[in-house]
Amino acid sequence: MKNQQDKTNNKAKQQDDILRNAVDEEYKYGFVTDIDTNVIPKGLNEDVVRQISALKNEPEWLLEFRLKAFRHWQTLRQPSWGHLHLPEIDYQDISYYAAPRKKKEGEIDPELMETFDKLGIPLQERKALSGMAVDAIMDSVSVRTTYSERLAELGVIFCPISEAVRDYPDLVRKYLGKVVPYTDNFFAALNSAVFSDGSFVYIPKGVRCPMELSSYFRINAAQTGQFERTLIVADDDAYVSYLEGCTAPMRDENQLHAAIVEIIVEDRAEVKYSTVQNWYPGDKDGKGGIYNLVTKRGLCRGDHSKISWTQVETGSAITWKYPSCILKGDYSVGEFYSVALTRNRQEADTGTKMIHLGKNTRSTIVSKGISAGYSQNSYRGLVRVAPQATGCRNYTQCDSLLLSDTSGAHTFPVIEVGNDSSIVEHEATTSKINEDQIFYCNQRGIKTEDAVALIVNGYADEVMTKLPMEFAVEARRLLSVSLEGSVG
């Protein structure tokens, strides 16, 4: 009897140790690149907005846009409704523009090349993964965009948004701020006022983009924020798969990342947007880390159009975002697949909004939350079916897995249906890892730690399979590293 008791105790202790190891897991991308950076002084006022605009040689209309957004932002207060402990941020204590200085025009600092190499994002095309074009963004500027020329042959525009403003002003002007207007929310207004770089993608009619497009965001400079802006337009019958990845150095201070992503999809076009978010999450006591406060929204403007969001969220001290779809075209489709993993003191309040405006529109939401340590993980979502949107269909599934008795998992779905021909379903479950499954694995000689990884990978599989191959590998690795034995 006593032996059995000891065994149980030992097992519990062993599991605790495993958990502790997992929690202490180092952040791999926490290094800082020592590079000469042009940082404008801290603070935010109209002059700063003008200065950013001037640094980027922007046309008058864009400066006007920024100033309007800034004036609106001044009338707003930082929102506090999330299930998060987001402190009141001192917006005057942040520098809004930081750019690595170029050695010579058209040449990239070898230090920078090395940084991106280290991150696994080679900027030389010969080294790059075939089939993927990358826009690498360090702090406020785009360092290099690969394969631009090859894509241009097909009429695909893939370039930093600052270049797009210069080279394709009509296109940018036509679409910028149309899906996420600067009045949308506090952080959207801030971003609209001070956004620096990001990617612009335009896929012309009937073109199926031959390679994956990708942006890689890196915050390097201290005491800065990153405010990138991505705009993707898929014209009739076009298709593109777009990936986004991000990392940041380990620092004791919190850094702000407030981006906007806008997607516009025309008739029968499709955009697939995948994110593997691995910003620095802070240390085990919750010190430092990135505040990831992003507005992402897609508009299915055309009939039979489709937007698919896939996200794997493992980083950031605070993640607060809702990649959304406005399903305006009849028969348009919105999808959202998400795995959000929080550990230590991380907090995530994420989910999606599916707004059905067109007839016979469909949406699917699959959200998997995994909480460990002292973290808090919330799913918050909206499914709205407008009265005129008849024949709509939504299916939502959000599951939460709790790996410790000190973490939290929460679900806040809102559903509004305004007609009698639409069907909306929502299901959610919260539980810990099934002990029977662990036992089953143990019986077959699989260590508890591996069993947990296996079960969690299986749990997240529905989302992982939606990621493009290169990202899926990265995401799986991230998940298993972060989770290493996180069983309580």
Binding site: W81, H83, P387, T390, S400, L402, L403, S404, D405, T406, S407, G408, A409, H410, T411, F412, P413, V414, I415, E416, V417, G418, N419, D420, S421, S422, I423, V424, E425, H426, E427, A428, T429, T430, S431, K432, G488
Partner: protein, 447 residues
């Protein structure tokens, strides 16, 4: 002036009259309520948990309050008998907010105490002192307003070990010649190993009477106590109801709350359950059938503060015409509360193109070793089932009605009183027919 201010003004003006006509136990609660109201605002439509209902608009009409406690000159016992056939109950009437207890009602109570709060002040001061106003949360302005203006109410006290053989029926009749706010209060205290079944029903007498029924119910279920509470609303389209139910459950207790709305104007039902004892089980059921411009808005909150307890919720809505339904539910499992099982379900049928349904089922979980889930659906009747019946010669309309009844049946089947269950099946059937069932022997429905 906002809606609250007119009632606060009324209270300040008639404070002396209000307090003279009310028991000390209620008077003692008023200062805190007044404080809470000082900075309070009634929620507007669109605010968190009030997505579809405007509380300010509900309280905006200049309702009169019966502060002088004028008795209504109709004896409710004579005017109205809401029988459930074959169900023998101890029947207690409340006419608007004035309780009427006859000697016959008190027969067969088996030791259960049912008395007005005024009587209880003299007879059971310790029960009132221990529980009245303890659970009601004054941060909800409607609860604070009730506490500020309530002048009487009922106490149902089931002493330790007492088991009432007959259900206790609390019949509330709403009737007023002028727009009236009815301020009602009910306190249910079930001691250790006590057992009680309560059936409350709201009926509006006469049509076109604007009544706002503002009630607060507090239920304390002691150790191993069982409390079944059926709350049936069958009022009129001009009746508004704002009802807040607060439940506290101790170890091993079992509480069933079944809220049924068959006919109403605008209804907001709040249920607030605090589970403070292990092995307690909570069952919250709700059923709504709404048509015309009816509006039913439900909010439920179940807080598991201890390990090893269970809760189950199921709310079903059938909405026709321009009806609006809303459900916001939350299950909270606090840190350090393993082995809790909680389920929350909300199923809705929109039966017309202009019916609206808003739903927000929420889980907030801070412990890993739990099973918590929720499910919600908004949809229509199963076309295949319809087709199946049509091929067997059942008319479209009958098939529709049958399926709707079947949809509601699992909530009705949760009723633990056999005869009441049968009665509810009957009432629901009649409701879907478009005619409300006439109560047997009822002076109003019988006409």
């Amino acid at each position: 002036m906002n809606a609250l201010e007119q009632y606060i003004g009324l209270y300040r003006e008639y404070r002396e009259v209000v307090e003279r006509n009310a028991p000390a136990a209620l008077n003692a609660l008023r200062p805190a309520a007044l404080d809470a109201l000082a900075t309070a605002r009634l929620p507007r439509k669109g605010q968190e948990d009030y997505e579809a209902i405007d509380m300010e608009a509900i309280f905006a009409p200049d309702y009169g309050v019966n502060v002088t406690r004028l008795d209504y000159d109709i004896d409710p016992t004579e005017s109205f008998r809401c029988d459930v056939p074959n169900l023998s109950t101890c029947l207690f009437h409340t006419y608007n907010d004035v309780p009427h207890i006859s000697a016959t009602s008190r027969r067969n109570l088996d030791g259960v105490v049912v008395e007005t709060l005024t009587e209880a002040t003299a007879n059971h001061p310790d029960v009132l002192a221990g529980h009245l106003g303890r659970l009601a949360r004054l941060d909800d302005p409607t609860v604070a307003l009730n506490t500020l203006l309530a002048q009487d109410g009922l106490l149902v006290y089931v002493p330790d070990g007492v088991s009432a053989s007959k259900p206790i029926q609390l019949l509330n009749i709403l009737s007023a010649a002028h727009p009236t706010m009815v301020v009602r209060r009910l306190l249910v205290v079930a001691g250790k190993n006590a057992h009680v079944r309560l059936l409350a029903c709201d009926h509006t007498q006469g049509s076109g009477t604007q009544v706002l029924n503002l009630q607060v119910i507090e239920v304390v279920a002691g150790r191993n106590a069982t409390v079944d509470f059926y709350d049936l609303e069958e009022s009129g389209t001009d009746t508004s109801r704002v009802s807040s139910l607060f439940v506290e459950q101790h170890e091993g207790s079992s509480v069933l709350v079944d809220g049924i709305t068959l006919m109403n104007g605008i209804t907001r039902n709040n249920s607030h359950v605090q589970v403070v004892g292990e092995h307690a089980s909570t069952e919250l059921l709700g059923m709504t059938i709404a048509s015309g411009h009816q509006h039913v808005d439900t909010r439920s909150f179940v807080s598991h503060n201890v390990p090893r307890c269970t809760s189950n919720q199921m709310f079903k809505y059938v909405l026709a015409d321009e009806a609006i339904g809303a459900f916001a539910g939350k299950v909270l499992i606090k840190e350090g509360c393993p082995r809790v099982e909680a389920y929350q379900g909300n199923r809705n049928l929109c039966a017309s193109p202009s019916a609206r349904m808003y739903t927000k089922p929420q889980l907030e979980i801070y412990t890993d070793d739990v099973k918590a889930s929720h499910g919600t659906t908004i949809g229509q009747l199963d076309e295949e089932a319809m087709f199946y019946m049509r091929t067997r010669g059942v008319s479209q309309e009958s098939a529709r009605r049958l399926l709707m009844q079947a949809f509601m049946s699992d909530v009705i089947d949760g009723v633990r009183l056999d005869v009441l269950r049968d009665r509810l099946h009957y009432l629901v059937e009649k409701r879907f027919d478009g005619t409300l069932a006439a109560c047997t022997g009822c002076a109003i429905c019988g006409k």
